[in-house]
């Protein structure tokens, strides 16, 4: 494995490329808008006032630093490596998404925008952005597929309570991809007064860079906390990968630590054969989606393929450009976990540690369980527990309640 890369290399380059991935493959109407955001972000990111403001909110509003917890019961029962959890589920709003939403809302405010807009699939990013918008005093429009609006009703209600408008995307499959189309379209009608805050480390430059920078707090904290607890660096890192924001958030602080093995976990869904999965890095081929180049699940015609997993937050046919790059240079290993394994890990963590994880995060836990079983007791695994599972309980009970003796 080639771990000696990117040591002090600056990623991405000035055009937003991570190796051959990323960039800005957008129609010319969007190009100057992306450039404006890039320049505003470059200007603000090292500004002490901005940093202080963000730090204050992270500490007193989000509740950072989130703790690192040694999942001793889980580890002991397996008899293998020691599993630790970075508790992003304990953040305000219940997931890591708030980390970049606060950053982007502050940026929008500084740029003099009146409104912040975004797409949302499961509604997690939408809720986090609506929260940040309410806090800093911005209007907020969340574009969501009509199908998802129906499926994710509780989150839609949360957004509305927070004062956001939920705008239905009514074309095509009426899910996440259409929500992105709809948000871009709305954005183009008034780029002067709005800022688009995309939901992960995806989209045209500068989003993959900017969202990563805001999420990197996860790894910076975890590194310090872990060393304090154990006197060492973790031997292994594990995080789930949808677009890849929580994963890159944890990984960034450790990329130069050649002895740390890093694992990104994608959803294998129910079947690789029928295409019911979203294992982009495992089965995709390089292509362009939503303005950037990355591994992409696509059909023979170059159309993004439909994706399917129990975790709606992982349901995306593309993936962050930096992950695409980290796969090619073999710094990070990208593995898969299927629906069944994820549900199993969800129940195990709930019953052995009293923590109900998000179904997305359950993919990371499931892989950690597999990995731990193969490793000696003195090895350590740090898992990013990206979110809590409250949003998923109805679904889990409905589909798997019987199997786990929750409902007859």
């Amino acid at each position: 494995m080639n771990k000696s890369l990117l040591a002090n290399e600056v990623m991405p380059n000035a055009e937003g490329f991570f190796g051959k991935y990323g960039g800005r493959f957008v129609p010319p109407m969007l190009e100057p808008i992306m450039q404006e955001i890039t320049e505003a972000y470059e200007k603000i990111k090292d500004d002490p006032v901005f940093k202080e403001e963000l730090y204050y909110l992270q500490k007193h509003y989000t509740g950072r630093p989130s703790p690192v917890f040694h999942a001793k019961n889980l580890s002991d029962k397996l008899g293998g490596a020691q599993i630790y959890l970075k508790r992003e589920d304990l953040n305000h709003t219940g997931a890591h998404k708030i980390n970049h939403c606060l950053g982007e809302a502050l940026l929008a405010k500084k740029m003099g925008k009146a409104k912040i807009i975004a797409e949302s699939g499961a509604g997690q990013h939408g809720v986090a952005l609506a929260t940040a918008a309410a806090l800093v005093g911005l209007e907020c429009d969340i574009h969501m597929g009509e199908v998802d609006i129906y499926k994710e009703h509780p989150n839609v209600v949360r957004m509305r309570i927070l004062g956001a408008n939920v705008i239905p995307a009514t074309h095509g499959l009426k899910t996440l991809k259409e929500a992105v189309d709809s948000a871009f379209e709305a954005y183009l009608t008034d780029p002067v007064n709005q800022l688009y805050a995309i939901g992960s480390v995806v989209g045209p430059h500068p989003f993959p860079m900017m969202v990563r920078d805001f999420q990197a707090v996860i790894g910076r904290e975890a590194k310090e906390q872990f060393q304090e607890m154990t006197g060492k660096l973790p031997d292994n890192l594990v995080a789930c990968v949808g677009g890849g924001s929580n994963a890159i958030g944890l990984f960034t602080a450790f990329l130069d630590d050649a002895d740390v093995n890093i694992y990104g976990v994608e959803p294998a869904g129910t079947s690789f054969e029928t295409g019911d999965h979203a294992a982009t890095l495992k089965l995709g081929k390089p292509g362009m989606i939503h303005g950037f180049k990355c591994y992409l699940l696509q059909n023979e015609q170059g159309e993004p393929a439909p994706v399917n997993t129990v975790a709606s937050g992982l349901d995306y046919p593309g993936v962050g450009p930096q992950h695409s790059y980290l796969k090619d240079i073999e710094r990070v290993n990208y593995e898969t976990i299927n629906d069944k394994e994820a549900i199993d890990a969800f129940m195990k963590l709930a019953r052995q540690e009293g923590i109900i994880p998000a179904l997305e995060s359950s993919h990371a836990v499931a892989y950690a369980l597999k990995l731990a079983a193969k490793l000696p007791k003195d090895q350590t695994i740090l898992v990013n527990l990206s979110g809590r599972g409250d949003k998923d309980i109805d679904y889990v009970v409905e589909k798997f309640g019987k199997e786990y003796g929750i409902e007859e």
């Binding site: 055009e15 960039g23 800005r24 493959f25 957008v26 129609p27 010319p28 109407m29 969007l30 190009e31 100057p32 808008i33 074309h171 095509g172 991809k177 992105v180 189309d181 871009f184 379209e185 183009l188 009608t189 780029p191 081929k285 292509g287 362009m288 989606i289 939503h290 303005g291 992409l296 696509q298 023979e300 015609q301 170059g302 159309e303 993004p304």
Partner: protein, 255 residues
């Protein structure tokens, strides 16, 4: 001299039409092309449908979706237009998004364009720098024009650079918006057309986005070699299919 150069040398008030291939029925592509030629259209942008058309408004998005549902693909398109040069003499350029072309293979794609008599290509999401670095030579060798879009936000400096690397025409997007039929041309847009005209470009220009009727067409023609009608025409064939008399009536109502 190729078909595009000849057109821009010989004609003004060029009436150019965009429509989505494979819409409303999959095999309407060639009949619509033929009807447009018979009705006196000067140039056609033939749209290759894609499910993520970031630059397109609702009308064209919906037509793309329908075309894809009909089973439309680049492969199918090349089959449909393989003999078009037996009946179609106006220039035809293909317009679409980069990923399907990238997936098809750019070398193959360009070779195929040349073989069937396509004159140029418009790929709004292919960045100019990426084109210049990786594909310019390929296009030039095959004699396929690559056509770039400029918008009110594009700087003079950028426009000059695009001009120097263009060999067909420049597509002047009338507003910083997505496609869609509009009723009027606004003063701000006219100021922008004047700015572009005062740069002193060598490439001819066509104005597109929001051109829907005789009034917007004529206004646009005062500021460029001609104009491109998209959504309004797509709406028409959505209602009437490849019906020649309706298409003729439409073109006559514009020109």
């Amino acid at each position: 001299m190729n078909r595009l150069q000849q057109l821009f040398r010989d004609k003004k008030d060029i009436c150019s039409v965009y429509f989505t291939a494979g819409y409303p029925n999959i095999d309407d592509t060639l009949p619509v092309l033929k009807a447009l030629e018979d009705a006196g259209t000067d140039l056609v942008e033939l749209g290759m449908p894609f499910s993520d058309p970031l630059a397109d408004g609702p009308t064209i998005q919906a037509s793309s979706e329908q075309a894809l549902e009909n089973g439309m693909s680049i492969k199918r398109l090349f089959e449909q237009i393989k003999d078009m040069r037996q009946t179609i003499s106006m220039p035809v350029v293909l317009m679409g998004y980069f990923n399907p072309v990238f997936k098809y293979g750019i070398e193959n794609f360009i070779a195929k364009c040349k073989e069937v008599g396509v004159d140029g290509l418009i790929l709004p999401d292919l960045p100019f720098d990426e084109y210049r670095e990786k594909y310019l030579e390929l296009f030039e060798e095959a004699g396929i024009a690559n056509i770039f879009l400029i918008t009110p936000q594009t700087s003079d400096e950028r426009i000059k650079l695009i001009d120097a690397n263009s060999n067909g025409f420049i597509y002047v997007v009338s507003s910083a918006s997505v496609t869609g039929a509009k009723k009027e041309v606004e003063q701000g847009q006219i100021n922008y057309f004047n700015r572009v005209n005062n740069i002193g470009l060598q490439s001819p220009r066509l104005i597109g986005f929001g051109i829907s009727n005789r009034s917007t067409f004529k206004t646009a023609c005062q500021h460029a070699s001609g104009a491109i009608i998209g959504s309004a025409f797509v709406k028409l064939i959505g209602e009437h299919g490849a019906e020649g008399s309706k298409i003729e009536e439409f073109i006559k109502s514009i020109k």
